[in-house]
Symmetry: C2
Subunit: 491 residues, 2 copies
């Protein structure tokens, strides 16, 4: 057995164990009895301990040192790159610090949930300050002499830097703000109305998941409080949620998660249970969920088909024709909540969070001033004041979990989706004709061939560039938004 | 930290990981997408590798060697006894072999299910031959100079031997055969008839699970091909199955699994995630499922209450009064299937399987002749021929999972349940009065106090002896069967 084979054999087991740990998370959100929490915490901690021990294992370091990368092909070099990154990250963080972060964030998540329910940021601030202190320490360990936020970004989007985000966000913000102001100055389209049985919503969601190519033989759809996609390879599960008044919540959460899941299901089976067998980054992952949800799922062509489907399932939905339905699906409204936001305003929510978390980690202010900073920035960007903390600084779970550096990947995903949609329309002329028949095949086939099948083979930015034929930039997304919402709102 | 504390801290993590592995098994039978099998096999093998590595860990051996058992209390000594047994078993089996068994049995289970559906033993035989070869190899490693089957019995019933089974089965068989012949010579009571909606069966089953004390906050009920109970501590799940024609299949499978689950849920919480925190053996486990299912659930008193419940749910069930219902629930019929068998004939099914698996492991014949051996023995014991493989050698999942030595614990459980029921009726005079009101409390409270709460504190045989005040024997079971079925069939 070569050094590479030994490394990959070990890694394959690690990947299998990571899948097991991930499925525990799925179970916790979907199936776990509600009294099992304390035991589950022990189980998760034990799995995390096993995975950490494998990542820092001395034999992994020895194999990585001994391996002759020049003798490997592209796939082999990419596998080694992923394993090396994971190993080097794990050994940089003292075990004591990792354990402390796990302990504090498991506590802080519950405190956050209570504080959000009570609209009481002061109740959350002390434990968040502990989280921030620990993450600064971890960031310093990861960054060595470099930038702490840059180091944190690598956990979610390898290759990304704060400086690159500055450039990108600087280009996005003025045009997004201008578009938002123009759209909100126009009359608001009507929404759906009617009776939306939740079991029928789930039935339609499962059907639409399959319309988008989700393979139910290698997945399943369940309900959860927060929609998510989970798992890789032959077992990729999604969740969605239902709201009796708003069927789009369920349908578009499903299509979004199907985008994530299709990426995982679409990866070359030769990469099963290897580092290449999972989506390469959070940003590229989000590009798939977004293009499924928005550029395909909220397109005029597809919504024309969906309108008929929904009337077939629910009867009268309060909208008379496909144009009104298309306007309702793409309605832009004032609001506070990121996850309920539309294509126009979503990225403004992300820019706000990214700037705040960078400043916080960079010690430009402390946690005690975070709510004030949020509210000031929100007013500046959105033009109206936050009314309560659950609509503001307390709305997202991420910081309570220590996930600093995660937020910008949502906007990267949108930017990448814009690039991919433009390239796809150049390469596949019949996308809309097919979508108008409820056939996503030409679009999803192109995505599978151009991007999904390659998994973690290339770095995130190269993954997009290779699929599009050009380096990613914000232009296609902004042009798409201007054109779509310009037409919808008669700008 | 003392040596004992270090050992227990390590063991607690091992127990948590064992719970994770067990839950993967639950998921596979209830939730897993059907195309995920090959990946799941890798996941199970990786978990088995982790658990095996922990069981054989040199530090465990060192702690066990260094520990001063005389300084421990009963609980501490019992914990050490379990850990020592597990460690010594694990070091005897090469890691390569235990991983291979996990991998092959994960695959063979699916092949068995397909072969059963097709009534095609030849489709199952090759993978079963692989399983048998691996288990023979494992048995030889465990037994050293001793008997292979005795060594395998220790996995399910520590302290049990083939010789003790010979004595027990020798005493059971003539009286069971005589009772069976006497009963089958009498007129057969009527069964239920009617329409039994499967969703209503599940709803009633969940209600009856709670009537028997199953705590849904720490569990859940799902459907599976083969009913089972899974997990320990705060997360103990059961499955059942439904048949449109036969509501008793669902109801009594549920009560049976609730017996298993109640044992796990009833263990002293101080033992959570320790070796004492699980049922002590399969035989003692089966004593709980059997006493719930038969001595309580099929008693005249409880069936009187259940008759009214079933008529309330399903309307007319084709039986006019509680006596006819009691006779129907306890009807003895010719049949092929162990899990559908009655109290009179059940143990004859077990004797057949035990003898066949002992002979197969002992190389008295090979897998290719197993179906023929089964059919010959069945004809001899039951007096009529097996009509198809799914009614014969393919009916049970156990061998596909490599569970050789497991079957006799079913009969041990029946024998133990006989002892416990007799002791309970001596200790708790109002059992029947309560059962006739659908109140299992006095019975289940006595079982919890006398047996369940102690978990793995005592050895299996001592667990029964302590609860009953006398050593276990087959007498109480045989007397109970003679009395019950003598009265029912007017013998």
């Amino acid at each position: 057995m070569t050094t590479y084979d030994a490394l990959m054999s070990y890694q394959r087991e690690t990947e299998a164990l990571a899948q097991v740990a991930g499925r525990l998370g799925w179970d916790q959100e979907t199936m776990m009895p509600r009294g099992a929490g304390p035991q589950r915490a022990e189980e998760m901690a034990a799995m995390e301990g096993v995975l950490h021990a494998r990542r820092i294992a001395p034999e992994v370091g020895e194999w990585l040192a001994a391996i002759d990368e020049a003798a490997l092909d592209d796939v082999g070099r990419a596998q080694v790159r992923h394993i090396r990154r994971s190993h080097e990250r794990a050994v940089k963080v003292p075990a004591r610090l990792s354990a402390e972060i796990a302990r504090v964030t498991s506590r802080s998540q519950g405190i956050w949930a209570e504080a959000r329910a009570e609209n009481d940021f002061a109740a959350f601030a002390p434990v968040l300050a502990e989280v921030v202190a620990l993450k600064r320490e971890e960031g310093a360990a990861l960054a060595a002499e470099g930038d702490v936020y840059d180091a944190m970004l690598q956990d979610y989007e390898p290759g990304m830097t704060g400086a690159a985000l500055d450039d990108l966000f600087g280009a996005l913000r003025p045009r997004l703000v201008a578009l938002r102001e123009a759209v909100l100055g126009k009359p608001e389209p009507a929404g759906v109305s009617g009776s939306f049985d939740e079991a029928l919503q789930m039935k339609l969601s499962r059907r639409i998941a399959q319309v988008f190519g989700y393979d139910m033989k290698r997945g399943r759809v369940d309900k959860a409080v927060h929609p998510f996609s989970s798992g890789a390879g032959l077992d990729v599960r999604i969740t969605t949620r239902t709201s009796a008044e708003d069927p789009f919540n369920c349908l578009y959460s499903t299509i979004h998660e199907v985008g994530h899941a299709s990426y995982e299901q679409g990866i070359d089976p030769a990469y099963l249970l290897t580092p290449l067998g999972s989506g390469v980054s959070m940003g590229v992952h989000e590009s798939q969920s977004r293009i499924y949800e928005n550029q395909l799922g909220r397109s005029r062509a597809f919504t024309g088909w969906l309108f008929d489907e929904m009337r077939g399932v629910f009867g009268d939905i309060g909208l008379t024709d496909a144009e009104a339905f298309y306007a309702a699906v793409n309605r832009v409204q004032k609001g506070y909540i990121r996850t309920e936001s539309d294509e126009v305003q979503y990225n403004l929510h992300i820019l706000l969070r990214t700037d705040l978390e960078r400043a916080l980690l960079g010690r430009e202010f402390e946690v005690e001033h975070l709510e004030e900073a949020w509210n000031t920035r929100f007013l500046a960007d959105f033009g109206y004041a936050v009314d309560k903390a659950s609509n503001g600084v307390l709305q997202d779970v991420h910081w309570s979990l220590g996930l600093f550096g995660y937020f910008p990947t949502y906007t990267l995903g949108n930017v990448y989706a814009g690039c991919l949609a433009a390239a796809m329309r150049r390469a596949v002329p019949d996308v809309d004709a097919a979508l108008s028949r409820g056939d996503t095949g030409p679009a999803t086939h192109w995505l599978r061939q151009s991007l999904q099948s390659h998994g973690g083979l290339r770095e995130p930015r190269d993954t997009i560039a290779e699929a599009c034929g050009t380096a990613p930039s914000e232009g296609p997304l902004l042009d798409y938004l201007d054109e779509k919402f310009g037409a919808l709102y008669d700008l």
